[in-house]
Amino acid sequence: MRTNRIRVWTLASATLLLWSCTAVFADSLENQAVRYLPSGATFARVPHLGSDGGTTVDPVVASGSATRWGGRDLAFVYEAAGKLALRVVTTSAGQPKEFEARLPGSFVSGSDSFPKGLLLKDVTGAGVQEMLVVTSEGASLGSFLSVFSVGSHDLDNLVRGGTIAGYGFDLDCAAGRPCRVLASGKWTDAAGAWVQVYEWLGTAFVETDKDADRYFSARLVKLAAAASEQAALPVPARVHMAELAATLYQNRHEYDQAIELCQAVLSRLENPASSAERPGVVVPGTGRQPLLRSDISLGEADLHDLLGNAFGSAGRAADAQAEYRLAQDLRNSEANH
């Protein structure tokens, strides 16, 4: 009993100490940076989801090793007069030195790959960390990824052309070579389904599109998986993703994948537990969703049409005709319901 009590106390003390250190460290990082904030400027802030599902908003401040002479360097993004700027503070022989660069856009954008919008990482293989910042004027408009390193007098822009534009960014950092930067489109329609590849060519990241097809294919597989995922989805959302993925497979002449996808999504629609109500749509006063049954019927019809297209492209005309008939039967049945 006494032993257990000691263990509990030890665990509690360690937890408290860890929490205190974390809090002090986080606090001190912002406090350290605030003395280098220009007069009248404020830290740019980026919202992100906490583990409890709530949104927290943090200042865009990070630390790392941005120079060869070691030490802990500070990097932060600030806003002044509606403009964004990146400021890096390095310390050499006890003397702080400030570097600065203007950033495009009006806010710092977080994402799955850049949750805090600012990342310090050695992406060139130079042995020091570079600063990567994602900024935007609206998610719907696209974002800009800027990459800087600390130069002898200024921050060096490491992107040919200034910034990498896209709607999402990922890093592919394999051992033994500099990271590749992947910029992608919205992936909500065929025109927005693209991936661009930027490689480090010694002095700058340049669009080379090396292995772009492989990255595109990986992204398409993720889209197809999302369309056929087991979790309940609103029917229009599932069919929308399936249509896009099937169209992209067809464009790539990958008919077997298109057929497999349509069949997988059809099997999901045939199981009512896989279909959720349209978000926020209910019959007033009843709490019931009015469109789910017809959504499923018409969604199945759309999928049979898609399957028919894929069979037709694959040279299976009889199978295609059978699918088109099934689609028409479902639509007739729904019209008479």
Partner: protein, 178 residues
């Protein structure tokens, strides 16, 4: 018709009816306001009506789950919001209807876009131009007449897109307000 509240579809027959009415009127575009004002001039009086105008535009799906919007919102799976191509509208209510039968949806503006404002042409967004508050002018999005875009005048979050039953870029009716 004059003297009562009107619910006018932009460019549709209600407006035509108004224009063909015996009462002449002047159409004013209300800057930064969610309504248009039709001032009907009669011989002896002037009657002013606040008109809730519906705009018919192409809607696209925003997607981009996990990203930050211009209004500081983190986009959720099956999220509900819209983006309009001008700043200063965060949190403003918007009412949406699909052209086919579908219940109306009420949500809020949480992002800026599609297409405008944009200062730099990129692969994803080759359109360059200032904000396009088309609801204060012609009612037709600039993107609709430009070859640099898909013509969309409103972007819908995944959940709003699904709630309207859309499977691809589709025509939608929207207006400000609940």
């Amino acid at each position: 018709m004059v003297g009562s509240e009107l619910d006018v579809l932009c460019g549709a027959e209600d407006q035509e009816e108004l224009e063909n009415a015996s009462v002449p009127f002047t159409l004013l575009y209300a800057l930064y306001a969610p309504t248009r004002w039709y001032i009907a001039n009669t011989t002896y009086a002037t009657v002013t009506n606040a008109v809730n105008v519906w705009f018919q535009v192409l809607a696209s799906d925003e997607g981009l789950v996990g990203q930050t919007t211009a209004c500081g919102h983190v986009i959720q799976p099956q999220d509900q919001f819209v983006a309009l191509p001008s700043t200063g509208l965060c949190g403003v209510s918007v009412n949406l209807k699909a052209m086919s039968f579908s219940p109306a949806q009420v949500t809020t503006v949480e992002d800026v876009g599609p297409w405008y404002p944009n200062h730099t042409a990129t692969k994803g967004n080759p359109c360059v131009g200032p904000a396009d508050p088309y609801w204060n002018s012609s009612g037709v999005p600039r993107a609709q007449g430009s070859s640099c875009s898909n013509g969309a005048g409103i972007d819908l979050a995944d959940g709003t897109f699904a709630a309207l039953g859309f499977l691809g870029n589709s025509s939608v009716l929207w207006r400000f307000g609940q």
